[in-house]
């Protein structure tokens, strides 16, 4: 495929179909809010870039997926990831029964069923395998009891895919299964969690004797951990992409220009240092993407991108708060002379979880220490 031609095609499609008012939003948009846009992607056949064509995906190799995502980022498309596409679909394709694939995959593509992900628990964060939400098979149903947390957009979801404990008497990784549950099932309650920005993307989901039909298990019983881990592959490069720091860096520049700080030499020195932190990561990102472009796989080393860029993004948003002065601590957006606006405190708040989700940066450092530096355990 000609990369430039593909980029142009994506850009043209975005220009023609993505609403102007949603570009570069102050908050990430939910799937529910952007439902019409998701349908347009579906009609175009672009809902699932990473799925094989035979299941209605685009069948893009990893590097082209990156290119596709980059064009979306450049255009200012910022909506919540569709967990049905990015996670569940892959697992169904690999581990699901023919019936499950035939029933669920088309409904994921068409947004008929919106999904949320039930992995973390109050007692199982970095140590995810320690999860305790239990499922017991009673006749035709699993009966599920327990609690999930950090479930993004659970309040908008029709179904949840979740990891549950099905055996307490074996090594913790070997007693976990993967279930699909209807969010309208009796016994499920959802509680939104207000985050530091005052918004609620995360939820807690409580399970009180929830009945899940036994055919809703994906893969074999007690195989859930292996399945969930199999997803931590090539797509991990995307959470190390420079975009999460690039956008706030633009805001720093604009706000500093508006506040008359941009020509201050002390400001300039720090701003340039941060610019280089992001520009240099670009070079590393391109180097790692090149591995995918030639069809090879990335290993645990890809964690370094995530560590660097999430911490750089935090330095950038910290500077944004400083540049805004007193206006940064008002819980309101500041208008910018380029027509945009910025809420410095919220930018700072929302850069915090980046070094926590997807495996905290401390966990990433543990991985690099063992798998790349090969230090003893």
């Amino acid at each position: 495929m000609n990369e430039q031609a593909f980029r142009n095609e994506v850009r043209e499609f975005l220009k023609a179909n993505f609403p102007e008012k949603w570009r570069f939003p102050a908050h990430r948009l939910s799937l529910k809010e952007t439902h019409d846009w998701q349908l347009k992607l579906y009609e175009k056949g672009w809902a699932a870039p990473s799925w094989p064509k035979e299941y209605g995906g685009m069948g893009l190799p990893p590097y082209e997926q990156l290119v596709f995502q980059e064009e979306f980022d450049n255009y200012g498309v910022n909506s919540a990831p569709n967990m049905g596409i990015t996670m569940l679909g892959h697992l169904l394709i690999r581990y699901g029964t023919e019936e499950q694939k035939a029933f669920y995959l088309p409904k994921i593509l068409s947004c008929e069923i919106r999904w949320c992900q039930g992995y973390s628990e109050p007692g199982a964060g970095s140590d995810l395998a320690g999860l305790r939400t239990a499922a017991v098979l009673e006749g035709d149903h699993f009966v599920v009891n327990g609690q999930k947390i950090w479930t993004s957009y659970a309040h908008d979801a029709d179904m949840i895919f979740l990891l549950v404990r099905t055996n307490k008497d074996v090594k913790k990784q070997e007693g976990i299964s993967f279930l699909l549950a209807d969010m309208k099932s009796p016994g499920i309650t959802i509680k939104k969690i207000k985050n530091l920005t005052g918004n609620s993307e995360f939820c807690e989901v409580f399970f009180d004797n929830v009945k899940v039909p036994k055919e809703n298990i994906v893969g074999k019983i007690n195989q859930g951990w292996t399945m969930a881990k199999s997803l931590l592959g090539a797509e991990r490069i995307t959470i190390g992409a420079p975009k999460i720091a690039r956008f706030p860096l633009k805001l720093v520049k604009q706000l500093a220009m508006d506040n008359g700080l941009f020509d201050d030499p002390v400001f300039k020195a720090r701003y340039t240092e941060l610019t280089l932190d992001v520009d240099d990561l670009d070079a590393a990102f391109i180097r790692f993407a090149e591995v995918l472009r030639r069809g090879d796989e990335l290993g645990p080393e890809v964690s370094m991108l995530k560590i660097w860029i999430t911490e750089a993004a935090q330095r950038v948003t910290d500077m944004l708060v400083e540049v805004g002065g007193e206006a940064s601590v008002l819980d309101a957006p500041v208008s910018l002379s380029d027509g945009g606006s910025v809420h410095p405190a919220n930018q700072s708040f929302s850069s915090r979880p980046a070094s926590i989700y997807g495996g905290t940066n401390e966990i990433q450092r543990n991985i690099l220490a063992k798998a790349v530096l090969q230090l003893p355990g």
Binding site: A269, D280, L298, E301, M304, A369, P376, G377
Partner: protein
Amino acid sequence: MLDLQSRIDRLTEEQQMIRDSAASFFSDDGDLKGIRAQRGQQPGYRDERWQSMAELGWLGLMLPEEYDGMNLKFSEIIHLLEQSGRFLSPEPLVSTAVMGAGALLHGENDVCKSEYLPKLAAGEWKVAVAWQENIASMSLEAEAVTAKETDDGYVVSGKKLFIPSAGGADAFVISAKAGGRTILLLVNKEAEGVSVEFNERVDGGFFGTLSLNNVVVAKDRVIATAGVATLERVIEESRLAVSAELFGVMARALEITVDYIKQREQFGRPIGSFQALQHRAVDTFILVELSRSVLIQAAKTFDETEDTAARAKAASQVKARCSDAALQVTKSCIQMHGGIGYTDECNIGLYLKKAMVLAAWLGQATFHRTRYGELTNAA
């Protein structure tokens, strides 16, 4: 630790060849005994080693074939210089084969090119570039050294600072103010009125100070009349080259340190099993790989364009990152070594000292960040 380069970067055959032959050449002093013996000695390296490098063709790495050179790409040269950096090579590869050779090559004096470049490639003649006149100044304009025009050429006076490997040099390319502009001249070390003073550096090598007292330079020894433009090209290429050496220094320092913390035991366990040290080691690893990524990109830019602004920006990006990272990494490596890291006996200190010298040379990180900012905002 894993060799990430072999794992993720696909090298060309040429890159692999130069990397492998350089690794085998420089690693024969793997314990650095040879380098220790040269500290504080003039010229700071053994001539037989320089001759071996000439035989391998490395002294003509930048030169076209007509001058007996290898005509390597920058994306190949960085692999050679990474290896010389890894083993703290004291030989003046960058100052002679990149800077000195570049000054003649990018100049306009074809007679001098034919006369000297093949000799340089053969290891028979060494040249150093003398352009700095003030501490911490990267100004390419000559001010303090002046060249008065006479019927036969110039009479040159003034002082040049921080000349690398001046001890082994047979000649200097100097920048001088002639009339209103800066020109480059070739001056023999033995010429009347030339004297060199040596200033020992922390790494055991030397910077030279060159005094010129009414030195007569013939007209046919003018290397470039557009001195600033020629010098600019040479200095930018040298910044890329020295960044490759800095990269080698930090990469090897990290490897040595990772090996050390795997073996050193305290509390009945290898200290490398402690999370506090693991995370510190990972942070240095990230700086090393970030530097390598920028180095690869910068070399590619130099191979693809001769545009001065693009090259200046790439040179500043890579020199800023490699200078800053090499210092951070080597200092962190000393911390991970503990008390032994503060002793002269332990090799890790040699890495810090080399990093300090190369980080300061041709502009430290702050200078290059500032310049990168100016170039970015001007674009």
